[in-house]
Symmetry: C3
Subunit: 314 residues, 3 copies
C-alpha cells in the first residue's frame, strides 16, 4: 500500500491535509483529493451557469429519468436518435451520450452518425456500453464505437471488464463484479482509447489510465431505481460539455470525477429523505437541483491512487 | 396600447369588470377574459365526466408522463403508433396528439395515417412540432402535417416561429424566443391553416388569428421537468375531444384556452407543494386530478387582445 | 352459490376457518384461501432472496415504471427487445414478459424469438395482450403467441374476452367489461393453452381452468397511473421465475396468485399514503419494496371457486 497516493475515504475531502505534516506523499495525496473536491464544486457552479445542451441517444427505459436528471442539474436535454438528425445535432450539442441499452436499428445508425459528427466537431461524448458481453448486437456496436475514442466510458464493473475483452459480461444490466475487480480493465481501456473510464459501484472508480479516483459517496437506493447508472452517463456528458473538456484531456478527468461526485452526493441527500425506492427518485431529482457546491466540497469522500500500481487492490 | 382589448393580467379573471363602469371596451374585454375563465371551468367539469379517449403519437421521452397527465385529468390515454393500427385508432379516438419529438420511421408513417384518418372522421387533433427548424426529418414532416389543418398547434416560441417559416428554430427542445416574439408567427399559422395556435412560455399565448389570449398562470418548475410542454399537447387533445371541437372552430379555441389554463393552474398548485423539480412532477399530477372548476375560475390570469393588432407587442 | 368453494372476501384470509366447524366444504374452501395467502407470503420471501432476472419486451409507455416495479420487488429487470439478442436473453432469464402495447416491427420479431427461446429453455413467460381485438397487428401477434402456450396470460376483462375470441375488445387499453364477465373466457383460454389466466379489475380473477381465485385487494388509484396493469405482468414473470414455475403447473397458479396479491396489497398500502395519482406512484414502489410476507398473509382477501361452475357468476 506504500505506493498508493491516497487519502482515507473515511477521513475524506482532504481535511487530513493539515495534519499530514511533513509527509510529502501524504500531503500530495491529500491535496489531490482536496483538489478534486474543490474542482468538482467549481464545475457544478459553472455547469449551473452554462446550461449545456446534452444530446442523448439512450435506451427506452430511462429516457424520461435521464432528461429529468439533466434538467435538474440545469442542463438542457435533447433526445435526437434518428439517422440524419443525430449527426447534425451532435455537431451543435455541448455534449453527447450514447447508451446502448436498447439499440434498435435506427438508434444504431444514429449513434454511428452522432459519434462521427462529435469527433469532427470536438463535442465531448460518453459511451455507456449497457450489458455488453453476451449480447452480440450491442457488443459489436460498442467495440465499433469505442474505437472512435470516447471522451468518457461509463459502465458497471461487468460491462467495463467485458468491453476491455477481459470477461463475458454480467447478466444483463446487473453488475456481477466489484469496481476494484474492474480496475485493471478500466485502466487498460483508458490507455487504449484515450478515454476517461468511470466504473459505477458501491465505490465508484474513475481512471484515465494514469490516476485513479475512488468515490465512496452514494447510496444503495441508486441501484433500486432504474436509470441510476444510465442517467449518470448523461450527467457526465453535461459536465464534460460545461467544462469544454474537448480541448484538454485533463479537464475530461476532472469533469467525470465531478459528475460522479455530485451525483452520488445527491443520492446521499435524497436517501435521507426517502422512505423507499419510489420516493427516492423524486427526492434524488430535487437533490440534483438543490445540492450546492459547498455541500459537494464538504461531503466528498475521495481517494486518489496511481493507476499503474492500483491493480494490487483488485 | 389603445387598440388592445385586454384586461390587466395582474388584475386578472375579469374581476375588474365591476369597476370598469361605462367604458365599453374595457367592459367587453373584461367579459371576454371572465368568459374564458368560466368556460374553462365548465370544460374541465365536462371533461371529468366524459373521459375522452386520447390517441397519442408522441416521443419516447414523455410517453409515461403524458399518459399519467391524461389519466390524472380523467382522460383515457392510448399510444398507438405503428402503421395500420394508427389509422384505425385515430378514427375512433376522441382526440389525437401528434408530437414529433423522436420521429422514428414507423412513427412517421403512423402519424401520416392517423392525421388522414382524423381528418376523415372529424377527430380533433393537435400537432406539436418539437424542435422543428434545424432538424430536417421532423421539419419536413411538420410542414407536411400542418398542411392537413390541425385543430390546434402547440409549441414553444422558437418552434412556432420556425414552423411559420420565420426563423431557424431553437436549439433543440429549448425555446430561445419569448411568446410575444412569436405572436405574429402564431397568428399567421392560425390563419393559414385554420388552426388554434398555442405558444408555451412564461406567459402562454393562444390565438386563432383573430383573437389572442394570454395566460399568466404557471410556474417555472414546469420547465425543469421533461414533458411539461409535451403533455400539455395531450391535455389539449383531451379538452378538444371532450368539447367536440371538431364541429365548431369556436369550441377549439375555448378548449385550447381551457387546457392551458387548467394545466398552468395545476402547476401553480403543485409548485406550492414541491421541494424541487423531482417532487414537483407527482405533485403536478395530483393537482391535475384534484384541481376544481372553481379554482380554475378563481385563479385564472387571462388577457384578451385582437390578434390583428397584437403584433405591436412583439 | 351452493357449488362455489369460496370464502367470503369480506371475511378474508381464511380466518373464518376456525369458525367453520364441521362444514367440510366451507372448511376446505377456507383452507384453500388461507393456503393461497400463506403460499403468497412464502413466495414473496423467496423472491426477495432470489432476485430473479426478468426479461421484458414491453410497450414504450411503461418501460420505466415496469423496471422500477421489478427493482422494488427485488427482481432484476432487463429490457432486451431487438432481434437476435431477445432470443439469447430469454434463454438465460428467470422469467419473460411479452407485452403488446406498442408492437413495433423489431419488437414483434424480438417477441417471436424470445417466446421460442423461452419454450426451449423452459423459461416461464407471461403474455399481456394489450388492447387486442380491434387493432389488427397486435391481435394477429397475440393469437400467434398464445398458441405457444404462455405460462400466464394477464389482461383486463375486455382483452381476455377478445383474446378468447368472444368479444371485440375494449376501447384501447380501457376495460369495458368486468372481471366476472370474463370468467368464462378466462377459463376457456386457460384450458385451451395450458396457461394461468389473470384478469385485472376491481376484483382480480385468476384461473387455471379448474380453479378460480378472486382477489378483492387493490385500490382504484392503480387505474389512474399508467402501467398499473402492465407492471403487474412483469411482477408476475418475476414470481414465476422465483418459483421455478416452469417445472410444475401448480406452481404457476400459486405464483400468479401471489404476484397479484402482493401487488394489490402494495396498492392499498400506497393509497393510504397518497394525495392523488401522482404521489401514489412513488408510494406504490415504496410499498412493493417494503410490504412484508406477514402483511400479505394478513391483508389477503381471497375467494376460491371451482372454475367449471364459476360461470354462473358472470
Amino acid at each position: 500500500m506504500s505506493d498508493r497516493l491516497s487519502t482515507d475515504p473515511a477521513d475524506d475531502t482532504g481535511r487530513a491535509r493539515d495534519a499530514a505534516g511533513p509527509d510529502t506523499a501524504a500531503a500530495h495525496a491529500a491535496d489531490t483529493a482536496a483538489a478534486h473536491a474543490a474542482a468538482s464544486a467549481q464545475l457544478l457552479a459553472a455547469l449551473r451557469g452554462s446550461s449545456p445542451l446534452v444530446h442523448c441517444i439512450t435506451n427506452s427505459v430511462v429516457t424520461n429519468f435521464t432528461a429529468n436528471a439533466l434538467l435538474a442539474i440545469d442542463a438542457a436535454p435533447a433526445m435526437v436518435d434518428i439517422p440524419v438528425e443525430a449527426g447534425i445535432f451532435a455537431g451543435i450539442a455541448s455534449g453527447l451520450l450514447v447508451n446502448l441499452g436498447t439499440p434498435h436499428e435506427e438508434q444504431r445508425e444514429a449513434a454511428r452518425e452522432a459519434v462521427a459528427a462529435a469527433s469532427v466537431a470536438g463535442t465531448p461524448w460518453v459511451l455507456d456500453p449497457v450489458a455488453v458481453g453476451g449480447l452480440p448486437v450491442r457488443t459489436a456496436l460498442a467495440h465499433e464505437l469505442v474505437a472512435q475514442r470516447p471522451t468518457a466510458i461509463r459502465g458497471n464493473a461487468s460491462e467495463i471488464i467485458a468491453l476491455a475483452g477481459a470477461g463475458a459480461g454480467g447478466r444483463g444490466v446487473d453488475a456481477a463484479d466489484t469496481t476494484d475487480a474492474a480496475a485493471d480493465a478500466a485502466a487498460h481501456l483508458a490507455r487504449t482509447h484515450g478515454s476517461v473510464v468511470a466504473v459505477s459501484g458501491p465505490v465508484d472508480l474513475i481512471t484515465d489510465g494514469r490516476r485513479t479516483v475512488r468515490i465512496a459517496n452514494g447510496d444503495v437506493l441508486l441501484t433500486r431505481m432504474t436509470g441510476g447508472g444510465c442517467a449518470l452517463g448523461a450527467v457526465t456528458a453535461a459536465f464534460l460539455g460545461a467544462s469544454r473538456a474537448d480541448a484538454d484531456p485533463a479537464d475530461a478527468f476532472a469533469a467525470t470525477v465531478a459528475a460522479t461526485l455530485v451525483y452520488t452526493i445527491a443520492a446521499e441527500i435524497a436517501a435521507a429523505a426517502a422512505a423507499g425506492p419510489g420516493t427516492f427518485a423524486p427526492a434524488f431529482l430535487d437533490a440534483l437541483a438543490l445540492v450546492t457546491p459547498g455541500e459537494v466540497a464538504e461531503r466528498a469522500r475521495i481517494t486518489v491512487t496511481d493507476a499503474a500500481t492500483d491493480g494490487s487492490r483488485a
